[in-house]
């Protein structure tokens, strides 16, 4: 990644709407051919960011550089970039073929050439050739996704932007399309910039992820870095089910005042005095014996959820709810409402500041 040249550079990008600042001075470099995902909850400014990159909004301050050229004032229709919209924005009065050919028609490409290119893209995206003349409003959700992507590829952009196109798709199909999209990324070698509110989705597809919160880019890293080393409580919670508790450092041990317990800490960041301890469900195990883990808590088994290969247990320690896991083969039976031990090793936990 580091050897690749930057295709997109943001320098102090800021966007204000009246008195509201949607994006606060973001610096970011995206490399040629990278799959970069911006993740954030709604209102985090991620859509505004993407719209500025696409040329549909102009930044209030800062510069956008495309291959070293400042493009702040270059309108969307002159930029070598293309966006797949959340609503997909397929033209309802046109067929699948006409939709895909739209950017070519705008460039006055001859009809025969247009059709050949459209059919080629349809084949690449696994759309049956018979769909060429089909009305686009008659296509299913997944087919419409593919048409939208084919249309964007027909423009032959250097960078493709995606504004949560999969958010309205049901879970199973979304999982398939995520993988397909990543395959298309490999096949085309183009730079993809994707935004989503689902870090899970980002993890599956991305080379790097940027997490946004309230207009700030709070962490940028590979999926592995984001997963194993979140730099704040916000990022760690964003990943999904996590066990998280306030702690303070006291003489090399972590103290939880709420639980009245002391824990062995993982590597302590310099200058850390108090913050939160994060333990992922797969690192928090329901134990048979106290000596199976370095840190142990006693709680009550309140409920269990079968996840397939693993089983999750809801364990209550005082007022606090913990989610622990076990492999299916080691499932506990008939233990609801009884006392259980949960524990983790220090190296499997993460310390974050607030």
């Amino acid at each position: 990644m580091t050897t690749r040249s930057p295709v997109l550079e943001l320098r102090g990008i800021t966007k204000t709407f009246g008195t509201f600042t949607a994006v606060h001075g973001i610096d970011l470099t995206i490399a040629e051919g990278e799959f970069f995902t911006i993740v954030g909850p709604s209102g985090s400014g991620k859509t505004t960011m993407l719209r500025m990159l696409a040329g549909l909004e102009s930044p209030s301050a800062g510069d956008i550089l495309l291959r070293g050229q400042r493009v702040n004032d270059l309108p969307a229709n002159k930029r070598p970039t293309c966006m797949v919209f959340q609503s997909l924005a397929l033209f309802p009065h046109r067929t699948v073929g006409q939709n895909i050919e739209f950017p070519l028609k705008i460039r006055d490409v001859p009809a025969a050439e247009r059709k050949a290119r459209a059919l080629q893209l349809m084949a690449q995206l696994r759309l049956p050739e018979s769909y060429y003349g089909k009305n686009v409003t008659k296509c299913s959700g997944g087919e419409r996704q593919r048409v939208a992507l084919a249309r964007a590829l027909a423009y032959n952009p250097d960078i493709l932007f995606f504004d949560e196109p999969l958010s309205a798709i049901d879970y199973k199909l979304r999982k398939t399309l995520e993988k397909e999209l990543k395959d298309i990324h490999r096949e085309t070698g183009k730079t993809f910039v994707y935004i989503t509110h689902s870090l899970e989705e980002a993890m599956v597809m991305s080379d790097r992820i940027g997490v946004m919160r309230l207009g700030h880019m709070v962490q940028v890293g590979t999926p592995n870095e984001i997963y194993t080393a979140p730099n704040s409580k916000f990022v760690s919670e964003f990943i999904g089910d996590v066990n998280i508790m306030p702690v303070r450092l006291n003489g090399g041990r972590l103290v939880s005042d709420e639980l009245g317990a002391e824990f062995l800490p993982p590597a302590v960041p310099t200058g850390f005095s108090n913050g939160h301890l994060v333990v992922r469900p797969e690192s928090l195990r329901v134990l048979d014996r106290r000596d199976e883990a370095e840190n142990v808590l006693t709680g009550t088994l309140y409920n269990e959820y079968a996840l397939g290969s693993r089983i999750q247990y809801q364990v209550r320690v005082g007022e606090r709810v913990f989610i622990a896991e076990r492999l299916r083969q080691q499932a506990l039976t008939g233990r609801l409402d009884t006392e259980v031990l949960v524990g983790w090793n220090a190296r499997d936990s993460i310390l974050v500041s607030d």
């Binding site: 969307a76 033209f91 739209f102 705008i106």
Partner: protein, 268 residues
């Protein structure tokens, strides 16, 4: 027969009777018009003693009537073109774009619809006189527009509300110029709304009496002629003209509706 079945039967019988009553109530007057035109006598006598289509013949051959139609059609066509053009942009401002003062605009633009037309007609007459405009069918075009543009704006706005603004952005992002976006995306997607708007404009202008009465000057439209003949000098030519005028409106309306349905079907 169970009580539930009997109740069900009664209910559907009542429904049918009600629907029939509504249809009769609405269409009997139009039918009476046809009846009244099918007489050979000079005056309107009921029951009709001498049936015949003499008055249809006379009406169709009358040069005066030809001029009437020409005037009415000219006004309606010009009103349609101007009204749809203005209302298209008006509807974009009404339903598409967020701008300061939009909510005031949305109310002001609809106000002329609620203004009594005869008062509006008189007001326009005074205004035209003040600015020294010579009254003719051309001045009636302006008068019609005052009332019809708001209606057509509303009709087109309904279509614009269901328009996804991302369509325009997508086309623009795919390299289209502003003009190409309008031509390739906005206009075709909004076409059903523009078409209904045009139908409304034509039909409302075609049937308008109060505004024409005050503003056509020496020219006469079909509704004006019908009114003056009923006030003085009735002949069975009046119901003939009334029937023809109604039929033209009906054919335009049903034909227009048919075109929209066919277009929709052709697409699927």
């Amino acid at each position: 027969m169970s009580p539930a079945e009997r109740a069900q039967r009664w209910r559907s019988a009542l429904l049918w009777a009600w629907a029939l009553a509504v249809v009769v109530f609405m269409y009997l007057p139009a039918l009476s018009l046809l009846l009244a035109s099918s007489t050979s006598s000079r005056y309107f006598i009921f029951p009709i003693t001498k049936w015949g289509f003499d008055w249809w013949q006379k009406t169709f051959n009358s040069i005066e009537i030809h001029i009437l139609f020409k005037t009415s059609v000219s006004i309606a066509l010009i009103v349609t073109v101007i009204a749809v053009t203005i209302a298209f942009f008006g509807a974009l401002a009404f339903a598409r774009y967020e701008w300061k003062g939009r909510s005031i605009y949305q109310k002001i633009v609809l106000l002329p619809i609620f203004f009594p037309q005869s008062v509006l007609g008189l007001a326009l007459l005074l205004w035209f006189n003040t600015i020294g405009l010579e009254l003719s069918w051309k001045s009636a075009v302006f008068a019609h527009l005052v009332w019809i543009v708001p209606v057509v704006t509303l009709v087109i706005s309904i279509q614009v509300y269901s328009f996804d603004p991302a369509l325009e952005e997508a086309a623009y992002d795919l390299g289209a110029s502003r003009w190409q976006v309008l031509k390739e995306v906005t206009l075709p997607v909004l076409f059903p709304g523009l078409f209904s708007g045009a139908l409304f404009a034509f039909l409302l202008s075609w049937g308008n009496f109060p505004l024409s009465l005050f503003t056509t000057g020496a020219d006469t439209t079909v509704p004006e002629y019908l009114y003056s003949k009923m006030v003085a000098g009735y002949t069975p030519g009046v119901p003939v003209l009334g029937t023809v005028s109604t039929m033209i409106a009906a054919v335009l309306f049903l034909g227009g509706y048919g075109i929209i349905v066919l277009r929709r079907r052709a697409r699927s």
